[in-house]
C-alpha cells in the first residue's frame, strides 16, 4: 500500500457555539479526515463550549462575570440552535430528528472526530477571557495556542470559518 505524501489540509475555525453550526463543523471535519485530509479544528470564543469536560451548566472561572458566562453558556449539552431555539428545546428535538433519519448525532460526530485523530486546538486568548483552564477541557484538546500558531499550521490549508 502506498500512501500519497502530500496530504491536503483543512483548518476549521469553530467560532460559533451554536448547535447547528458545530454539527456542520464536525460533519466537514470528519468527512475531510475520512477522505484522507489532515484536519485541524481551532476552537475560539463560543466554540470553546463544545470542548468543556463538564457537558452541562457549571459556574467555572474565578470572577463573577466569568462564572456567570460559563454557567449560562454551559457545555456540549447546552449548545443552542442558531434559529428557533425555543429556550433549549429545539436542539433536543433536532437530535431526535437526526436519529430518526440515521444522521450521526453531535456526540457521535465528536467521537468519530477523536477516532479519526483530528487535531483539536483551543484558543488561548478566548480561554483567558472566559477563565477556562486546559484541565477543564476534554483530553482530546492537544494544544492551547494563539493566532500565530493557527496560521502557521494552516499554511497551504483551506481555512473554513464557522
Amino acid at each position: 500500500m502506498t500512501l500519497p505524501t502530500d496530504k491536503k489540509k483543512i483548518s476549521i475555525v469553530c467560532f460559533s457555539g451554536d448547535f447547528d453550526k458545530i454539527v456542520a463543523a464536525f460533519t466537514i471535519a470528519t468527512g475531510a479526515a475520512a477522505t484522507n485530509r489532515e484536519v485541524t479544528m481551532f476552537f475560539t470564543f463560543w466554540g470553546l463550549n463544545a470542548l468543556k469536560k463538564k457537558k452541562g451548566r457549571v459556574a467555572t472561572g474565578k470572577s463573577i462575570m466569568a462564572k456567570t458566562f460559563n454557567f449560562l453558556m454551559g457545555g456540549l449539552n447546552n449548545l443552542p440552535l442558531s434559529r428557533l431555539n425555543f429556550f433549549g428545546a429545539s436542539p433536543k428535538l433536532m437530535t431526535g430528528m437526526m436519529k430518526k433519519h440515521n444522521v450521526a448525532t453531535l456526540p457521535e460526530l465528536v467521537e468519530a472526530a477523536h477516532a479519526l485523530g483530528i487535531r483539536m486546538v483551543a484558543c488561548e486568548m478566548a480561554m483567558h477571557i472566559l477563565e477556562i483552564e486546559k484541565s477543564e477541557m476534554i483530553e482530546e484538546v492537544q494544544d492551547v495556542a494563539g493566532v500565530a500558531t493557527f496560521l502557521n499550521e494552516s499554511e497551504n490549508a483551506h481555512i473554513i470559518f464557522i
Partner: protein, 74 residues
C-alpha cells in the same frame, strides 16, 4: 481474512468515516467487504479509498435493488 461492513443505514459523513475507521483496524493485505447504497456513497466511497492507496478489487450490484458490494484490499 475477510471483514464486512454494512453502511446502508448510514448517511454522510458516517459512510466514509466508518469505512476509514474499519480500514484502520484491519491488517495490510486483508480484504474488507462494504455493502453500500447507490448514489452518494457509491460515487464517493470507492474513489476516496483509491485516493488513499487502497485497492478496490470489485464493485458489483447486489440482488437487492439499489445496493452494491465493494471489496477493498488494504
Amino acid at each position: 481474512m475477510k471483514h464486512f461492513l454494512d453502511i446502508t443505514r448510514e448517511t454522510c459523513p458516517m459512510t466514509f468515516v466508518k469505512v476509514k475507521l474499519k480500514l484502520a483496524q484491519i491488517n495490510t493485505g486483508e480484504q474488507l467487504e462494504v455493502l453500500l447504497n447507490e448514489g452518494e456513497p457509491l460515487q464517493n466511497v470507492p474513489r476516496s479509498c483509491e485516493e488513499q492507496g487502497f485497492k478496490v478489487l470489485s464493485n458489483e450490484p447486489t440482488d437487492e435493488a439499489g445496493k452494491h458490494m465493494l471489496v477493498i484490499e488494504k
